[in-house]
């Protein structure tokens, strides 16, 4: 509970009003780009030419969104992104569970050293590995394929680390008692450890999905055909040199952003948990 020290209600009221005024002003600034994009996207074709800068919500229409959907083949792009993001998310959850389990519950020789090697890979940025990965994907014949987009992302140290942290909080006795009852590692993982880490898996899943969905550099280095383009790199096709068609770009942007906005509103808690996992406890 907070202790209130404001001398009088008048001053307190003014302070409160000031805080609200500031909040409203800043909310307006942060939302302005989104509002402007929406208004441009919902503008009719003739209005886009006659009043290119108007952001007033009049004569709104879905025509531009429909046109962008058709011209940019956005349905296909979204489908590609969904396939890749879902596959990577499922894969990362499985590989993270398995590796985290080995590090937390299986006492094998060289465990500490192996874990350090795993952690060290966190330091290597994609900007470095892509030079060589591009060649690897080429030699596997995976240019312009879903495999190329999915397979390199199927394991992350971040996921392993996150799940291991949860597993370490499970009492050792629980595993030992289960072992005495003849419960093997895989069954213990499926029936005890994995269910216990469900909230963390939710955060990891959401995070992996978002990260994969938002990828830009990797898809743009291995995808050149229209069949496998993801939404992030495919949107650029709407960006022709033609100034009259900029409202198509905004419409495409709205269509690309909408699923993620909705998803994040639904999964707000998991998002915060995922983002703050590494941050708060120093």
């Amino acid at each position: 509970m907070r202790v209130d020290t404001s001398p009088g209600t008048g001053l307190r009221g003014a302070r409160k009003a000031g805080r609200y005024a500031l909040l409203v002003l800043l909310a307006f600034v942060v939302l302005f780009p989104i509002y402007a994009t929406l208004m441009q996207a919902l503008k009719s074709g003739p209005d886009a030419i006659d009043h290119p800068k108007s952001l007033l919500p009049i004569n709104l229409t879905l025509d531009t969104l429909r046109a962008a959907w058709r011209i940019g083949d956005l349905g296909r792009l979204l489908l590609n992104s969904i396939v890749v993001a879902v596959a990577v998310t499922a894969g990362v959850i499985v590989t993270s569970l398995l590796a985290a389990y080995a590090f937390a519950f299986v006492d094998f020789p060289g465990r500490g050293a192996t874990f350090v090697v795993f952690l060290a890979t966190l330091l290597v940025p994609a900007e470095l590995t892509i030079v060589v990965n591009q060649r690897t994907i080429d030699s596997l014949g995976w240019f312009n394929s879903y495999q190329g987009l999915i397979v390199p992302l199927l394991a992350t140290t971040f996921g392993t680390f996150l799940v291991r942290q949860v597993f370490l909080t499970v009492p050792k006795d629980l595993r030992e008692a289960a072992a005495l009852d003849g419960v093997g590692h895989f069954r213990f993982l499926l029936e005890v450890a994995a269910p216990l880490s469900r909230p963390t898996l939710g955060a990891l899943g959401l995070f992996t999905f978002l990260g994969t969905w938002n990828q830009y550099l990797w898809p743009s280095t291995i995808i050149t055909d229209d069949d496998h383009r993801t939404i992030q790199i495919g949107l650029e096709r709407l960006k022709t040199g033609d100034i009259d068609k900029l409202n198509l770009v905004t419409a495409g942007t709205v269509i690309a952003a909408l699923p993620i906005f909705i998803m994040l509103i639904i999964f707000q808690r998991q998002l915060v948990r995922g983002l703050t996992a590494g941050a708060v406890k120093g």
Binding site: V30, K53, P109, E127, T129, M263, G282
Partner: protein, 298 residues
């Protein structure tokens, strides 16, 4: 001993999928890129010969790399302090249980839902003088700004990219700092009050020190993002405007559509390895420099 060895097969089976992926797509490329960074190739990029470790020094000293590195550094200097200050400011402002605060928190978090491509295209349109309102607005505020458009003027292109990046990262910074604020024990504020500390004193003596580890984390993340800037460059400026190319970052030098080293695996690898080292050094410097001033709650 016996028991531990008996556990080896199950551990191997469980670690194999992750180890395989990380080995092939992280460890191998690291080692291979360091090797390839030695190669010197001809104009076609096909015939290469061993150039030795000296190539790293040559690439690092080259005008192209130095120019791109300086641009990247400038981008970081524009985005990190402003982004952090805004994130902290918004989080502190919204850290009060007043009516409607949930709405404001959602608004301030909202840009976390934008990808690099979405945020860049939003700002690309906003910054176009033909359709965007922002150029007019800024021209009204600062009349010396020229009209060709912020992205097409070599003096303002990089700040314009920075503006887009700051906005795009704001949601992330806000969420992380807000969570950290909520974990600060309220008793600390109460005892500061008892000691007669005013609002600003409480902010500098309680809030900021307690946020230390989080600010450090966020600053490392934001700096790394600036040094990895690729998508925003590709979509907003293409590294231009020419011939100054003030927005050509190191990742864009390596991977850009019209990159000089596009077909030269040797130069490309050495530039990528150098970028990796720059990132490592930056993270280390930030941890060492800030660590002393950071207060870790036990």
């Amino acid at each position: 001993m016996n028991r531990r060895v008996r556990e080896l097969p199950v551990a191997t089976a469980m670690l194999a999928p992750s180890a395989l992926i990380l080995g092939v797509f992280v460890v191998y490329p690291l080692v291979r890129a360091i090797q390839l960074g030695h190669l010197r190739c001809d104009a076609t990029g096909k015939r290469c010969r061993e150039g030795g470790w000296g190539q790293y020094i040559d690439v690092f000293r080259s005008n192209e790399f130095q120019h791109s590195l300086a641009n990247t550094g400038r981008l970081a200097l524009m985005t990190v302090p402003v982004g952090l200050a805004l994130g902290i400011g918004l989080a502190v402002l919204a850290d009060k249980q007043i009516r409607g605060i949930g709405f404001f928190r959602t608004v301030f978090s909202s840009t976390v839902a934008t990808s690099v491509a979405v945020a860049s295209l939003v700002w690309f349109v906003l910054l176009q003088p033909e359709v965007g309102v922002l150029p007019d607005l800024l021209h009204g505020l600062i009349p010396s700004l020229k009209q060709p458009g912020l992205l097409r003027d070599p003096g303002t292109a990089l700040p314009a990219v920075a503006l887009s990046s700051i906005w795009a990262s704001l949601g992330f910074t806000f969420i992380v700092i807000t969570a950290a604020l909520q974990s600060i024990p309220r008793e600390l504020y109460e005892s500061a009050l008892v000691d007669g500390a005013g609002g600003w004193m409480r902010f500098t003596n309680v809030t900021l020190p307690m946020l230390g580890p989080t600010i450090l984390f966020t600053s490392v993340v934001l700096t790394t993002r600036a040094f990895q800037a690729y998508g925003e460059i590709a979509l907003l400026t293409g590294g231009g405007p020419d011939p100054e190319r003030p927005t050509q970052t190191v990742p864009y030098l390596i991977y850009g559509q019209n990159s000089l080293v596009k077909n030269d695996i040797g130069l490309k690898s050495s530039a990528a390895v150098l970028l990796f080292f720059v990132l490592l050094v930056l993270a280390l410097v930030q941890f060492r420099g800030l660590d002393k001033r950071v207060h870790y709650a036990s």
